[in-house]
Amino acid sequence: MGALQKVPLRIYHGTHGNETAANCSWVVNGTHYLEEWSDVRSIDGSVSIVQPLIAPLYGGKSAHELLNAFGAQPELSGYETVRGYWQSQIKGVDFESWWQKSVHDGFVANSAYAPLNLRVKMTSFAPPAQTAAGNTGGSVELIFRPDPCVYDGRFANNAWLQELHKPMTKVVWDNPLMVSPNTAARLDLEQQDVVEIRNAGQKVEAAVWIQPGHPDDSVTMFLGYGRQRAGRAGTGMGFNAYQIRQSTELNSVHGVKLNKTGRTYPLITTQGFQSMVGRHLVREATLEGFRKDPLFATRVEKEPDPAETLYPVYEYTGYAWGMAIDQNACVGCNACVIACQSENNVPVVGKMEVARGRHMHWLRVDTYYKGGLANPQVYFQPVPCMHCETAPCELVCPVAATVHGTEGLNEMIYNRCVGTRYCSNNCPYKVRRFNFLLFQDWNMPQYKMMRNPDVTVRSRGVMEKCTYCIQRIQHGRMDAEKKDQLIPDGSVQTACQQACPSDAIVFGNINDKNSRVVKLKENPRNYGLLADLNTRPRTTYLAVVTNPSPDLPEAEKSEHA
């Protein structure tokens, strides 16, 4: 902070009153990019005119408007500024039609740069200075990584991202210091031990997380936490890795010592246990094994035949919604979790409540390790509601607040729920979430604008869970009925499906033989999770098939399912 204080006039222009703003003499309320007129160049040089989606919510000024204040025309608005600039640049065509077209299209035609022919001189690159193998005694290599949730810290005040479980550790609201099991044993470190790390004359504390599969003699600390002025969600959460990070060693530092403080710090996760305990949850085979026995996934555990029942079978003659999740494609990125939270007004409960086991994510991604701690296989399994045809939750609800729809959806009726929580007890997948307290903010006007108006906001004492985005199904149905046709395959996408970057989640009508979801369910890799319990889930999984290189040592190849 010392260097900044030497500057006589410091003006901060931004959307948040953060650490930098605190050290400036003037703070100017900035606009969000969705509130301002502006222009940008994309990666190939194409110009795009940025238009706002909403008038500034907090009376903010865009950068153009700020700079105008120092200029000849202080009252000039952002719109006039941008338009005025382009008016001066565009000659020879009717400006108005050029403007309308560019704003409508989102980019200016033919504004890309011409590519240049360049050659890179290889002589300027020096080899890396040190490797981790040089670390002896109690020192390790410390690696800085952007956090998988809050990135470099810019999203520290985004409560959705703070409460999002990190892909490997499932930790929330903190940045754990990841240490391999061997290194932890060598340095006598236990889970949640607080260590002090010194570098370049600075120090910072961190809480240890024993991470299976992490390289030995190396520890990883995520950036973006430990902020001092990051709003209600981000302030004081986690530890500030920037404290010991220098511009000369941005990615990693060698010879760092971890000094035990004797204290512990609670690191909270959303996942109870990361081993499958011998249960056939994520099923897998090598390519060779799959070729020998394509039905390996269903052979390992018997699924009851749908005809094997004392009861008359319900017929689903119209739409019958189902979902298939390809575990081969899932990379554990968690985009689906945030999409679901956004679409369905899922509340954030905070670190204390997550510690008590009350996180509210309708969809979660489970991470399981298999094999030795030093180098395990890792599997990701997104778990939404299975919409079981013989749903154990429906049977035990005393007030019939959860019943089965005619299209196969397990329907949760918030208005009827009296909160006995028997359904949660009887769900073997534990996908049901209960509002133990009033988790939603009823009063903040901005939240009312944020929420999806198609989805009920749940109050205290009611159960909620994945609905297969029933509001989207309804929209799809209405659109199809207007055109007097059936809902075409792919027109209704659940939020998780829409957000998944690897297309691992596929939703559709299983009565439509040509739908993608049916094709996936007919795949021999298809199996139901815990299907031996006779829940008859509509959400099924495709088993993992790996193709390990024959050059890998035996221990590193995955085991046969």
């Binding site: 246990f273 249960r279 609800c397 007030v399 009296v418 909160g419 929580r421 949660s424 205290r460």
Partner: protein, 463 residues
Amino acid sequence: MPERSITEQMQEAHGRPPVLLPGHTYATVTDKISAVVLSRRTPLGWYIGFLMSAGLVGVLTLAIAYLMYRGVGIWGINVPVAWGFAIINFVWWVGIGHAGTFISAILLLVKQSWRNSINRFAEAMTLFAVMCAGMFPLLHMGRPWLFYWMFPYPNTMSMWPNFRSPLVWDVFAVSTYFTISLLFWYLGLIPDLACLRDRAVNKWAKRIYAGLSFGWRNSARHWKRYESAYLLLAGLATPLVLSVHTVVSFDFAVAMLPGWHTTIFPPYFVAGAIFSGFAMVLILAIPIRKIYALDDMITMRHLDNAAKVMLATGLIVAYGYIMEVFFAWYGPNQYEKYMMWNRMNGPYAPVYWGLILCNVLIPQLLWLRRIRYSPKWLFVISLDVLLGMWLERVVIVVTSLHRDFLPSAWGMYIPTRWDWATFLGTLGFFAAGMFLFMRLVPAIPIFEMRELVHKSSEEVAVK
């Protein structure tokens, strides 16, 4: 060498202590029992005890108020352990209540005269225990103000409860049990209220007892219908003893959780209920007979028999535990195997082993005659049984929920101070109820004691 007590002398003469010590007439039993309510000075201990109980009722009120204000999140429940102390205590209290009905109803039908002196306070124990139990299903709901939706009644939504749900069965079973117990208890009380009416000196006491006794006048014709109703209610209450806790066990057995989904639960729960209920009966009987000098009517025979019932039901419960282990070991269900292993070795293992100590090992002391004839030992063992039965419900509810099918969902349950406050508050409520009962109503059925006097005089005449 102290002189042998009458008990010991009678024991020597008849082989077992008597149900009613000799020397009583119809008048003396009437006078002695009604004096506790009407003329004897309330002991200081009663005031202290009642005040302490009332204090705990205050704690309960506070706990309930805060619960209504903030929600069930003030307790330690979560996902996966969505049921905690509330259900544990519900089952514990309902179980305790069953001994009262066993004594009133079943012992009547099998003509066990030792039930005569203890059935009223045992049935009062049932009523207060069921009241305490009944609070919990209401309190543990997320939206308790809508509890009436669990009853079938015509409404504008055209909605009805789901009769397939064990919780709806519970509503009917516990309501029926409370109603029948209340009616049975009250029916038994009517002649004694008439007796108090006739003996009360205080004008208001006389009026109140007169009103409550409905003008009972001891007519022989009335007695005939009365006995008929009494016997019929006993006959109706008998299947309730077996069925109510069976229905409560269905809350667990109908679910699919390993550790819950097992056919042994109905008999195991019923036996456990009578086990804990008799423990509570002893905990009440032993001080009552001492403080009010009623040991001539609640004799060592009663304590001995109660101890024997406890031992027998304790053995059935122990059998249940052994069977659960056997099912897990012998059967193919991997989830059940893990559940049993986890109970014995996991984070809640101390609770499980505490349970085995309290419910299986310590009650074996009851095989010893010396222990059964020692009120002090019986009191301690009864406390131990109550603790053990409470631990059993903790094991059932918490260990099965906290680690079930998907390891990713595993969690822990840690009760909060509000969990404890609510539980202790109900203990106070129960105690306060029993104190009021002792003070206002004859704790021992007077007319049934007269019947015992009649029977023993007949026996003497025959001899």
